[in-house]
Amino acid sequence: MSLASQLVNLLAALLLLIAFAMLAQRRILTLIHLFAWQGAALAASTFIVAYSTGQDHLYFSAVLTVALKVILIPWVLHRLIDRLNIRWDVETLINIPTTMLLGIGLAIFAFALAAPISQMADTLTRSTLGIALASVLLSFLMMIVRRKAVPQVIGFLAMENGLFLAATSATYGMPLVVELGVALDVLVGTFIFGIFFFHIREQFDSLDIRHMEKLKED
């Protein structure tokens, strides 16, 4: 195995570790920091893949990742939680050790699912496909077990990180147009969610999405 491939594996493992840390995290502020670090790990691994395979468009996506997911979106989220004045602890539906055990189960499932696919691939990054799949599933799990709207949105954004890693590991990334489109979508999505937060809170005096289950007037 070449050094580049080992470094990519290490960074992918780091990304998965951060996904687990986000799953276990109780504070929103730390959650945002972890999200930024995950973006940084993703950007670094994309950069290494770009350098070692000579795929020039991956440089762009690495820069895009740093600009959007390490700087802009965490900044927007910071402002959001300042304006909403929510620094309280994240509420979960299931307690954290159980969530972690579920997470291990998902990781095993994802690894088993990805193993035959990555054996057929011959890219430098084939072994990270399972890790990418696992971090997508973990972000799903985070969206399911969190009760408040902000952590759910962070879960959604983290899922995009996982998808990005999957794209890089399976096919050295998507075409540049698609990547630009996805990045823009994520950015716009964050803004729309931000507006939604204010509307939800105005309507229900809380960001607990349980209230949205009783939208019907009875």
Binding site: M1, L3, Q6, L7, N9, L10, A12, A13, L14, L16, L17, F20, A24, I96, P97, M100, L101, G103, I104, A107, I108, F111, A114, A115, Q119, S127, G130, I131
Partner: protein, 316 residues
């Protein structure tokens, strides 16, 4: 093959570990005192304490059973045995095949069971409380410890600690993401098993928050000295297990006298760094609530399992 040099190394290592363990304890305490802006105690303080305790008369509760009397000797014996198995100075020692990593964890478990039994033997409330807490920590830390060891065992293809060290020290340089995970998990287990902050505070005087200290409240004089000494050896053994798994460079082969000074120097350097690191961790972290300990240890278990999974994923 003549085994005499091997045995000489074995005896040298066993004696060295027992003599050097309090020094490591003193070094950790000194670093911690400096970091906390206190006047640092002497490096030799643990030796003075042991000497003082050995000269006192032992007081034993009236209701104590023989179990209470023999437990300090069992603890000391277990830790000494563990220190003889772990490759501290050299690999390929004659004792090493006696136990692989699984048996090593078993030796630690044996010591823990006796410590807990002796704590409950007297029937004081603090003893029982400490014993239960210790067993809680122990049963959560043990699987994490085993998983950590298995990760290294999978990489080298053997559960013998000596073989693991040989494989890891003499391979070409490679980044193992799985070992990074296992290393983090091992650090967490080390903190929990050796009753350090954030799980337990070794310097506490408040009985209600004690875990390990609550179990040995009833001991005095030579019994207490043996237990304190065993605790120091345990910390030493865990540190050297960590070195063996994650930074095995510089270790000698049994019977190779020429490599011995290098092995001593490497070990001293690693112990100094690890002791300072431990003191740093204990300074920046606060002791966590007992109810959060399962979360801490399940995180360690998770990291260890992840390390193992990633090993399969990346190598397969």
């Amino acid at each position: 093959m003549d085994n005499a040099p091997g045995f000489a190394f074995q005896i040298l290592q066993s004696v060295f570990v027992v003599l050097a363990a309090p020094l490591v304890m003193g070094w950790v305490n000194q670093c911690r005192a400096r970091l906390q802006n206190r006047a640092a105690p002497s490096l030799w303080l643990p030796y003075y304490t042991l000497a003082k305790l050995f000269h006192k008369d032992a007081v034993i509760a009236r209701d104590a059973s023989p179990l209470f009397r023999i437990t300090p000797y069992i603890l000391f014996g277990c830790m000494w045995l563990a220190a003889g198995i772990v490759p501290v100075l050299a690999t390929g020692l004659p004792f090493a095949p006696a136990a692989d990593v699984i048996a090593l964890v078993g030796v630690f478990a044996l010591a823990r069971v006796f410590a807990a039994l002796a704590a409950m033997d007297i029937g004081t409330s603090f003893g029982g409380l400490g014993a239960r807490r210790e067993m809680l920590i122990g049963f959560l830390a043990e699987p994490a410890m085993l998983m950590t060891m298995f990760t290294a065992a999978f990489i080298s293809g053997s559960t013998q600690l000596a073989t693991i060290v040989d494989t890891l020290a003499h391979r070409e340089f490679a980044v193992h993401p799985s070992l990074a995970f296992a290393g983090l998990a091992f650090l967490m287990v080390l903190l929990a098993e050796n009753a350090r902050i954030p799980i337990d505070n070794p310097a506490t005087h408040l009985e209600l928050t004690m875990i390990h200290e609550a179990m040995i409240l009833e001991y005095s004089a030579r019994h207490l000295a043996l237990i304190e000494w065993a605790v120091a050896i345990k910390l030493f053994a865990y540190m050297t297990i960590g070195f063996a798994l994650f930074v095995p460079w510089g270790i000698a082969a049994a019977g190779d006298w020429a490599a011995l000074p290098l092995a001593f120097a490497a070990l001293a350097f690693k112990l100094a760094v690890a002791g300072a690191g431990l003191a740093l961790i204990e300074t920046v972290l606060a002791k966590m609530r007992l109810l959060l300990a399962p979360e801490f240890l399940s995180t360690a278990f998770l990291l260890a399992v992840l390390g193992m999974l990633i090993h399969f994923l990346v190598s397969g």
